[in-house]
Amino acid sequence: MNRQRGALAAGTAIAGSGARGGGAARLSAWRRRQLAGWLFLTPAILYMLFAFALPIIYNVMLSFEQTSPATIADITAPYAGLANYRFILDDPTSRTAIVHTFEFTAGSLVGQFIIGFALALLFTLRFPGRTLGRSLIIVPWLLPLIVTGVIFKFLFQLEGGAVNQLLMDVGLVHHAIDWLDDPKLALPTVLIANIWLGVPFFTLLLYSALQDVPVEVKEAALMDGAGPWQRLRMVIVPMILPVIEVTFLLGFVFTVKVFDLVIALTGGGPANATQLITTWSYNLSFEEFNFGQGAALNNVLLVLAMICSPLYLFLSRGSLRSSAGGGR
């Protein structure tokens, strides 16, 4: 709007000779304001260039370099062509890590959505304890991830772990289960911890979306004789679908990034059973000092995460547009 007004002022300044002085002053006021806006933005632009653009570009460069522990001190290493990518494709652990990342992400999203949506629906009802429930449900979200990892490692221990103790006390199993050291069980166990961690996010977002469904809409559905299940499927879900989409998208992005939790719980083991792209990339770069290979695997992860970005930008178009219009 300011820009239009500025152009208008400039137009009148040229057209009307009498108003020339005032128009020019207003034009320079507009310029001054633009300059101020740019100055306010400068720290953020510099930060984004240094902390996001530079590492992303540098990561691409690294993935084409022949790195070794000796080249860390230098900013560039000899060109390696596609060798690092070829390594990633041939390396069985990298391939399992990619598969695990997909399984882990899909499992997490399904679990988090089902539990999160159920809790969100629950909290829209009126009953004693809903306020307390709503305020405490966010606790898992606030804890440092490494702490969550440590706690679950403790609770899922073979001997003296609370989970085994509970299952044996209740009589569901007779022998302690080796949750974290059994290659078949380790990934599902990490998945349980991650679902615990992510449910609050789904609950809060879906709850706030449910709050925005007008009462009249629900009442109208009720008048039509719709049962609770029909009301949910035919009326409420379609209305909050945009939020469900954004929530899934962000959930996906959060889950493909998971690192701390797995490092604390299993370190990627046993026998790479819980190795994800992130943990294996860390291992390649910081344990084996093959930064080029780590960077190539990073780029696989980056592409995976970025697949969502057009959709995310599309779903967030409201926030982009409001910038042009000035106000929501």
């Binding site: 820009r3 530079l54 945009p242």
Partner: protein, 277 residues
């Protein structure tokens, strides 16, 4: 059953479901606190005790001795991350909301995409870049890296808030002869107080809880945040559970404080930051 009885039974069922959910949510936290007071013999007895059993302060003694400095380090990192986030994000969000700049759409799109970039991608490159400019193992290096969690989020949340600020407020200030900077500093920032606090709380928690950058851009010698301290206690076969749990209890303190003191801001931030549309 009458209608009234049925609705009463239904309400009871809802309360029970909530209690069950809260047990699942809170039990791990409870377990940390209980375990942090248990003796090594209890922790390695092979049995899990649901209630405190032979409480001792030994673990806290060990951890206070070994980790006090690390807690201080984490405080510095959290505060630094919050300060950096505010300095970078508040003016930027204001510019993106209230000045119709030609780059606004490009910058906002980039911020949305920045939120997607996995930290391990940044960590690998930042390590080598920091190595080159001698930022490895320094507070500024770690804080800049930790800012990557907080800053895109902070700008988007604050921008959403600044939209709700009427333009008349700024116009009145300009008519009074205030410069753009004075308008921002004296009028806009104080009005945005609650959003600024939300952002600062989250940035602090990000810096405090960060593990991945602490693991990569520090070499683990003179700067050791509490998260890294906990990690080094985790041996594959010989985890010192008592010490780990006491350190974990310390690491949970800011979250607990924020939950009590800044509950409103946290709930605001969680929803505001994510649904931008």
């Amino acid at each position: 059953m009458t209608r009234l009885q049925r609705s009463r039974a239904l309400r009871m069922l809802c309360t029970l479901a909530t209690v069950a959910a809260l047990v699942v949510v809170m039990f791990p936290v409870y377990a940390v606190v209980v375990a942090s007071f248990e003796s090594t013999e209890t922790l390695f007895s092979g049995n899990y005790y649901w209630l405190p059993h032979a409480a001792t302060l030994d673990n806290y003694r060990t951890v206070i001795q070994a980790q006090s400095g690390n807690v201080l380090t984490s405080l510095i990192v959290g505060t630094g991350t919050a300060a950096l986030a505010l300095v970078v994000a508040v003016p930027a969000a204001y510019a993106l909301a209230k000045y119709q700049l030609r780059v606004t759409v490009v910058i906002v799109s980039s911020l949305l995409i920045c939120q997607i970039v996995p930290s391990i991608v940044l960590a690998t490159s930042l390590f080598i870049v920091f190595h080159w400019i001698h930022f490895v193992n320094t507070y500024p290096g770690l804080i800049i890296a930790d800012g990557t969690y907080a800053i895109p989020f902070a700008i988007l949340v604050l921008r959403a808030f600044f939209f709700s600020l009427p333009n008349e407020v700024m116009q009145a200030s300009r008519v009074d002869g205030a410069s753009e900077w004075q308008t921002f500093y004296r009028i806009v920032v104080p009005l945005a107080r609650s959003a600024v606090i939300t952002v600062a709380v989250f940035a602090f928690l990000n810096g405090w809880g960060d593990f991945i950058f602490a693991l990569t851009v520090l070499n683990g010698t003179n700067i050791v945040p509490i998260t890294l301290g906990i990690y080094t206690y985790l041996g594959n076969y010989s985890t010192q559970w008592g010490a780990v749990m006491a350190a974990a209890a310390f690491a949970m303190v800011p979250a607990a404080v924020m939950l009590v003191v800044a509950q409103r801001y946290i709930a605001n931030g969680l929803t505001a930051g994510s649904v931008v549309g």
